[in-house]
């Protein structure tokens, strides 16, 4: 494919040097390619995966970001919210008010590999990645960013639909349900209500009473499996769903990817 020609005596020095001479004059009288880093910086593209930032007003504390983090460098930490923050909280306002402490993500950037899964799988779009990349620090402790240090406030909140990126939803086994309603208390999107269940159910301790069972609004379920984790009777398990845009807030044909 590439042209083959006979190699002559000019190809020892002269012809190769033509190339280097050309480049020499080009970069002497033009601008060299290299960027003088600390003084000049290249602009990252808008998709750049840099340090994380959390829009607290959108965050519902569901913990999916910690769930999908391959390095487990992201943990949900209980955080005190001020009254104003509680008022502004959008989806999670009820959780913030009900629980003594709301949970917000904190990141250990010493372990983070900037894969962007937390951003991709966030059901509300609260987790974002900025183009800030100069995170170097002199100590390991300095790389642990507490939840509040990553908080950002946007003047106008994007109206994003709740999306179930986890492709799973909880399924109830009403046989073992004891009707404790812990799942309702902990559901970050308030998609569970307690309603009629098994009548005259015999519990483990021998007492017999009517039990209320949880019912799920799958249109706004985000598949965070918080209910499965808090269930004391192991009566919930996750099962795959067919469509990620099953959320009721999504209109047909709308692009779901933020």
């Amino acid at each position: 494919m590439s042209s083959d020609r006979d190699i002559g005596i000019m190809d020892i020095i002269v012809n190769p040097m033509k190339v280097t001479l050309k480049q020499f004059f080009k970069s002497t009288f033009g601008k060299p390619t290299t960027v003088m880093y600390p003084l000049e910086k290249r602009a990252p593209p808008p998709t750049y995966r840099g340090m994380n930032a959390v829009i607290w007003d959108l965050c519902i504390g569901c913990g999916i970001c910690g769930e999908v983090c391959p390095n487990k460098c992201l943990k949900m930490k209980p955080t005190e919210l001020s009254d104003e923050e509680q008022d502004r909280a959008w989806y999670g306002s009820h959780v913030a008010k009900r629980k003594s402490k709301a949970e917000r993500p904190a990141i250990n950037f010493g372990h983070c590999m900037f894969c962007g899964f937390c951003e991709d799988y966030c059901p509300t779009g609260a987790m974002t990645m900025t183009d800030f990349y100069e995170l170097a620090d002199t100590s390991r402790e300095g790389l642990i960013y507490p939840a509040r240090s990553m908080k950002v406030d946007l003047p106008e909140l994007p109206q994003l639909p709740l999306t179930n990126y986890m492709m799973e939803s909880p399924i109830l086994n009403s046989e073992t349900c004891i009707g404790c309603s812990k799942c309702v208390d902990n559901c970050p999107t308030n998609c569970i209500i307690m309603d009629e269940g098994v009548i005259n159910k015999e519990l483990k301790n021998g007492t017999v009473r009517n039990v209320e069972n949880p019912y799920f609004d799958y249109t706004i379920c985000i598949g965070c499996s918080t209910c499965v984790k808090v269930c004391p009777a192991d009566c919930l398990h996750m099962e795959p769903i067919s469509n990620s845009s099953s959320s009721g807030l999504t209109e047909e044909g709308e692009v779901t990817e933020a």
Binding site: K72, N108, H111, I144
Partner: protein, 159 residues
């Protein structure tokens, strides 16, 4: 040789069972451990599988499974109206207390280090291998880490 004819011929070999076409160019079969060497020799000499792609060992609990992938590069087996070349996937099951099999590294040199790796990480012994040492882990490492019963510690930093 057309691939359907090739599959027919394969089933006549000793120890071969369950010959199936899992994709349009991939033949899968199960092979008995005792007849493996003869089959591999004829695979190379008669059917022209020049290239050993991969040898993977699986711990199926309790027995081990060896999966051989061989491929044709310029051989005589073809598929009608397709530029695709043929691959063969061979499953061999080994007992847990005798994880040994005859080496194929004298037939395909490319299998040499795959066998070493299978020995290193899964503890399969290849009889007749010229140089069966650990390849990825250091000499003197205890145990074979890809076995499911290998006990290891998960270290998680608290922060």
């Amino acid at each position: 040789m057309e691939i359907t004819k090739f599959m027919k011929k394969l089933s006549s070999h000793k120890g071969v069972s369950d010959v199936a076409l899992i994709r349009d160019n991939v033949v899968k079969l199960d092979l008995g451990k005792e007849d493996s060497k003869d089959f591999f020799i004829s695979l190379k000499e008669d059917y022209g599988f020049e290239h050993c792609s991969l040898i993977s060992a699986i711990d199926n609990q309790p027995q081990f499974e060896l999966v051989y992938h061989f491929s044709v590069i310029e051989g005589s087996i073809f598929i009608k109206d397709s530029p695709k070349t043929v691959m063969i996937e061979i499953h061999i099951f080994l007992e847990r207390d005798t994880p040994t099999i005859e080496s194929v590294s004298d037939l395909w040199f490319g299998a040499n280090w795959h066998e070493r790796e299978a020995y290193d990480l899964m503890g399969i012994y290849f009889l007749g291998h010229p140089d069966l040492r650990r390849v990825l882990l250091p000499e003197g490492f205890a145990g074979h880490p890809l076995r499911k019963d290998y006990v290891y510690e998960i270290h998680e930093e608290e922060w």
